[in-house]
């Protein structure tokens, strides 16, 4: 079976991540990888509205916060069982996205992006000021891990164990990735891309762009809500800080640099966005300058993002060294497929 460069890469990465806790034992790296997987969810979600539909959303971190606070409040104030809360909470993000997306998606690109930034700010300000509910800047602490599960073969799985929590996040991120992949290949995904390329035309041929865009927005917010839930129950403490617009910009960076037209791209971008700062332990200012430069340069020179660029590069190399079965070196390289 012929496996494209991209597919091979994806499979290899998946295997590596699956075995990670046994390859690298430091709790620190496992924690970082768990966070990176949450950001994979964030980036995949964002990709649905941004990469596929072409509407930049700067509210992703806000939705993450909604999911996080919803879950914690259900557990701490209403005494919900933790798994129950974790399952229901992302719907708060979905609901909010539906409510605020409905009027906002009728405006075009720039407007929409700015409005989503405004929403993120409103969400942030609300978290900070509704002190009696959210604890304000002091936040909510002592957030419990989900209850232990009795599983066949594995016995009692406790989520206080960080390796187990890693696998929980890994499994959910995998489902998220598959979901994004399915969306991308489906008719729904094709319509979204049509909207991105030429919305007036899509509208003219009878597509109800409004409802497609809204669905995409709700899907992306749901992903963020799930990420938020996982985050809250792992770190054990939340306050408004991680859900400020800068974090949304992080998600955008991940999608753009990773590659907004592909499914693997955002995942790669998410890992980069999480691990790169740890490796480049330079001061905050330099790091943001680098981010800004990367964003600008990537948009100008690598508009499709890193993953397609790398995939193109690999494909070109394969032609160059005649590894793809071609006989003539002057044949144009085919772009890497999904």
């Amino acid at each position: 079976m012929k496996v494209s460069g991209l597919q091979f890469f994806t499979l290899a990465a998946f295997t590596l991540l699956g075995a990670l806790p046994y390859l690298v034992v430091t709790p620190y790296t496992i924690q970082l990888a768990t966070i990176a997987l949450m950001w994979v969810l964030m980036a995949q979600g964002l990709n649905v509205i941004q990469g596929e539909t072409g509407y930049v959303s700067i509210a992703q971190a806000g939705f993450m916060g909604v999911g996080a606070y919803a879950s914690v409040l259900l557990v701490q104030r209403d005494g919900f069982p933790i798994w129950g809360a974790m399952l229901i909470a992302p719907m708060a993000a979905s609901l909010l996205a539906a409510i605020i997306g409905f009027p906002s998606l009728r405006v075009k690109g720039h407007y929409f992006a700015i409005v989503t930034l405004a929403y993120n700010l409103v969400i942030f300000i609300t978290f900070s000021n509704a002190v009696s509910i959210t604890g304000g800047e002091g936040g909510l602490s002592e957030i419990p891990r989900p209850e232990s599960l009795e599983l066949p073969y594995l016995g009692t799985v406790s989520f206080h164990n960080r390796i187990n929590y890693y696998y929980l996040t890994f499994i959910i991120a995998t489902f998220g990735y598959l979901g994004a992949w399915l969306i991308s290949r489906s008719a729904f995904g094709r319509v979204l891309r049509a909207i991105r390329q030429n919305e007036p035309l899509a509208e003219a041929v009878g597509v109800n762009c409004r409802s497609y865009k809204l669905t995409a927005f709700v899907i992306s917010a749901t992903y963020a809500g799930v990420a938020g839930v996982l985050y809250a129950h792992m770190i054990g403490f939340i306050n408004p800080t991680p859900f400020a617009p800068d974090a949304s910009l992080n998600a955008i960076l991940a999608v753009i640099v990773g590659g907004s037209g592909t499914v693997a791209g955002p995942a790669v971008g998410a890992f980069m966005a999480t691990f790169l700062p740890e490796f480049l332990r330079v001061d905050e200012s330099t790091r943001f300058i680098a981010y800004g430069l990367i964003l600008i340069i990537a948009t100008i020179y690598l508009p499709r993002g890193l993953v397609p660029a790398i995939a193109d590069g690999i494909a070109a190399l394969r032609v160059r060294f005649r590894l793809d079965g071609s006989r003539h070196a002057c044949q144009k390289p085919r772009p890497a497929n999904e």
Binding site: Y28, I125, S128, V131, G138, S141, F237, P242, E284
Partner: protein, 413 residues
Amino acid sequence: MSRRSTALALSSLALLMGVMTSVAAIAAEKILNVGYNDSLSGPGAVFGLPQQRAIQIAVDEVNGAGGIKVGADNYKINLITNDDKANPTEATNSVRKLIDRDNVKFVIGFCCSGPTSAVASFIGNEDVLMLVGTAAEKSITTRGNSNLFRNRPPGDFTGAAAGRFIASKGIKKLAVIGALDAALYNQYLAALKVEFEKLGGQIIATESAGLGDRDMTAQLTKIKGLNPDGLFVEIYVEQAAFIYRQANELGLKVPTFGFHGGSEEQFLRVLSSEQMEGVYDLRPTELTLAALGPEATKFAESYKMRFGENPAPNTGYAYDGIYILKAAIEKAGSVDVKKVTASMASMNVPTDVVLKYLPVDGKLFDQNGQAYITNGAFQWRNGKWTFVSELPSDTKAYSDALTAARVSKNPIK
């Protein structure tokens, strides 16, 4: 003995002695890795950077004087620094890194409540000792972590005393403006309100401002319309300065009380001394030289010489942190973290500290790992913060209340 064998014997002896003394020297000088996590950039840097400087001075002093004495060994402190950017996730990662990669057993710093709370959530499960500095959120010391200590008292410890003070000045209708979404400030206010109302006062307005706001004219206009006879301001230094300036510009002239700290320079960058005249600052005495002893003066001089400005009031916590750690280790006679923790929990107030601590049952830290310093009233007179008086506080009662506030499902771990 032949000349040759004598020479051999002597040179071997010399070699042996040389090796022994160098081995002894190496054995005597050891390194103690101490993890330092603080907010060195972003919004918390205004508290974190002064802490960093104070810690640098303390560490250099301790190392310069030979280090921490444990038996025959002298431990030099090696500080491993991480910036948590006032972000809880970053703080968790940073401390995780210190514990896992750098293998530290002692972590200090922690100027900001958000990141510190995040770390406090998991530190109970770790084999390290955590010493918190400026972070003032009350619940940091109510979680039953036996390995967490803090030498900065929570906000409401001062709030109660402040309420009594303001009432004693004859204020009956107090207007409040502050960053009420921050735990430190709303806890302070809650305690202030209780005492102030007990003495017949009434809080007629509670306006809030964001921690990044600089234009509070709208809130102040509203307050002016309610005719208060006193104004209370609790927010970060930089914003407090703007509030005082704008209050002046709006013609709001009433006795003004605040909780914000801040050096003279920080205020004079924004408004004039005349506009500040008479303003009170009701806060833990912290690093106010007039109220402290010679160690404090010496520290302030070193700080000024090295960094070119007066030390911020919260530098005292950080500086003392190093000396408290040193005293606990020396008292334990070991760098084993369990022994040092036990030692710290039962130690008296050490001698080299700059702040004035109020012992609880004779010890520096109460059973929650919380230490207390005196509260003071300061007034701006002629361009300088002048120490007016100490604010009487009941440490034992507060400590008991803190223990009661500890969630019952958190026995000391």
